[in-house]
């Protein structure tokens, strides 16, 4: 599954879809593949404040544990309850139904564009 061209990315293999002042965040197909089958997702509570670069959640597979980093400063507006109930959505549709959190942000940090991210993962 290739990464969508219209999104922003981080070196931690997260994608960010920006709409107004809200960023929808998930992990990339590359990250999901590296993790293996996701069996548990721990997400921050709605309304909590998150700081760019800080760990705000966990994505756990049978083999290992991945950390979810907040890619922006802001407030958690929404979490994906569907992915909490059905963690395999992270594997089956990482760029779509497998989204993790929506964060209302105040300013955007420097993020990777599609070309920079695909160069990073060597696709």
């Amino acid at each position: 599954m290739s990464a969508p061209t219209d999104r922003k990315y981080t070196k931690e293999h997260e994608w960010i879809d920006i709409e107004g002042d809200v960023a929808t965040v998930g992990i990339t197909a590359y990250a999901a593949d590296k993790l293996g089958d996701v069996v548990f997702v721990d997400l921050p509570t709605v309304g909590s404040t998150v700081a760019e670069g800080r760990v705000v959640g966990e994505i756990e597979s049978t083999k290992s544990v991945g950390e979810l980093f907040a890619p922006v400063n802001g407030t958690v507006r929404e979490i994906n309850d569907a992915v909490v109930a059905t963690p395999e959505l992270v594997n089956s549709d990482p760029f779509g139904a497998g989204w993790l959190i929506r964060v209302a942000f105040t300013e955007l940090p420097e993020l990777l564009n599609y070309d920079e991210y695909t160069a990073l993962v060597g696709e």
């Binding site: 089958d37 548990f40 721990d42 756990e60 049978t62 083999k63 544990v65």
Partner: protein
């Protein structure tokens, strides 16, 4: 791992088949081996409900041959290998002089004077070296044949049905082959595969063992490396309709964990005595004569040694290798943290795909090791309640 990081990557003779099947690879003791093909959970469930095909060509095969081979192995290994009948196999340990575990292995007696020792890939050099040294006192020879033997395992309730139907595979004693026994067989590749350079008439030898590392019925097939790809394809073609899938090391790890089987480097190492790992029965102190490690094992593990237990928890958060195990739930975060020593450490853990709850193996203090003991795993800062249970976590239903 004994292999240094600067040693070149090694590839299985089945590497091309794995790439064709879409495998992701991982480094395992210097080998690039399939970690999964599509989904480790799907591969795990396939082995429990149908069958999975594993490439274990990285494992070490060492042959001990000669009139005193059995006596040599009685001295070199912890079990009474001379009591193993021709055709039979035995799980055993190669101990150090101090009583620690150099490797766990399976000894197959393939003839009166011939044994095939199958050891972990990471311990190949150590086992070969030790066997060579220990067996030099006896009238026998030791050959490291790891490079000349590939290993394919078919594991799962449908393993027999599939293996018995593979065109060209002839194993006369397959049906009556008992658990932990092996038998010779042959493989004549189907003419349909002749384009791979195999002449249709060529007959290849197999050693077929009813052994495995998944907790299911199954077979391990020892075969020449150049024949392995054709055999792999023939197995897949025959078994696909019965639900056979190629299975990687990720599923192998969760399968063996559910079955309560130790993994060298996790549950077993040079500092671990067999009794601590629940393997006291593997060491035969009644056998005549000396064996390496006897004196140390007879003296027993040092006082206060931890023992291996199974832990189960509720919820979905699994303890992982290295996580601490504690006797108490922990102080409320508002009070100053007390210095609290863990009562144990997890060596392997996962959310059990078959059982649906977290399972782990851990070494804990003897005082915390009784069945039903309530302990707490520190899962990245959160204490998760866990109960001590007997191993294995999973036992297949056997037809009586």
């Amino acid at each position: 791992m004994t292999d240094s990081s600067d040693s070149p990557e090694r590839y299985s003779p089945l590497h091309a088949a794995h790439i064709a099947a879409g495998a992701s690879f991982t480094d395992f003791a210097g080998w690039q081996m399939p970690v999964r093909y599509s989904s480790d959970l799907a591969e795990h469930h396939a082995v429990r409900t149908a069958a999975g095909l594993f490439d274990l060509s990285h494992m070490a095969e060492i042959v001990v041959l000669g009139p005193e081979a059995a006596e040599a192995l009685d001295y070199a290994l912890a079990g009474r290998i001379s009591a193993v009948a021709a055709g039979q196999a035995k799980y055993s340990l190669l101990l150090g002089r101090e009583g620690g575990i150099v490797d766990d292995l399976v000894a197959y007696r393939t003839g009166d004077d011939r044994f095939l020792i199958v050891a972990n890939a990471s311990n190949r050099a150590a086992v070969a070296e030790q066997l060579l040294e220990r067996c030099s006192l006896f009238d026998c020879q030791v050959f490291d044949e790891s490079d000349d033997i590939a290993l394919i395992a078919i594991q799962g309730p449908k393993a027999y049905e599939i293996l018995s139907q593979v065109p060209g595979v002839d194993v006369p004693a397959l049906q009556e082959l008992k658990y932990y026994w092996s038998t010779p067989g042959t493989f004549r590749p189907d003419t349909a595969n002749a384009d791979r350079g195999e002449t249709p008439t060529e007959l290849h030898e197999l050693l077929v063992a009813r052994t495995g590392y998944t907790g299911e019925d199954g077979f391990e097939l020892y075969v020449a490396p150049d024949v392995a790809p054709v055999l792999w394809d023939a197995l897949m073609e025959t078994g696909r309709g019965s639900g056979l899938v190629p299975a990687g090391l990720a599923s192998r790890d969760t399968l063996r964990l559910e079955a309560g089987m130790p993994l060298y480097g996790h549950e077993l190492d040079l500092r671990t005595y067999p009794a601590q790992a629940g393997l006291g029965r593997v060491v035969n102190l009644k056998k005549e004569g000396d064996f390496v490690g006897r004196e140390a094992v007879e003296a027993g593990a040092p006082e206060g040694s931890r023992v291996l237990v199974g832990l189960v928890s509720e919820g979905k958060r699994a303890g992982r290798a290295g996580y601490g195990v504690f006797a108490r739930a922990g102080a409320p975060s508002s009070t100053p943290a007390l210095v609290e020593e863990p009562v144990g450490t997890i060596t392997s853990g996962a959310l059990s795909p078959t059982l649906g709850y977290p399972i782990a193996m851990a070494y804990v203090d003897a005082a915390s090791a009784s069945d039903g003991a309530e302990l707490f795993i520190d899962v990245r800062g959160t204490r998760v309640a866990a109960s001590v249970v007997p191993l294995p976590f999973y036992k297949r239903e056997t037809a009586s």
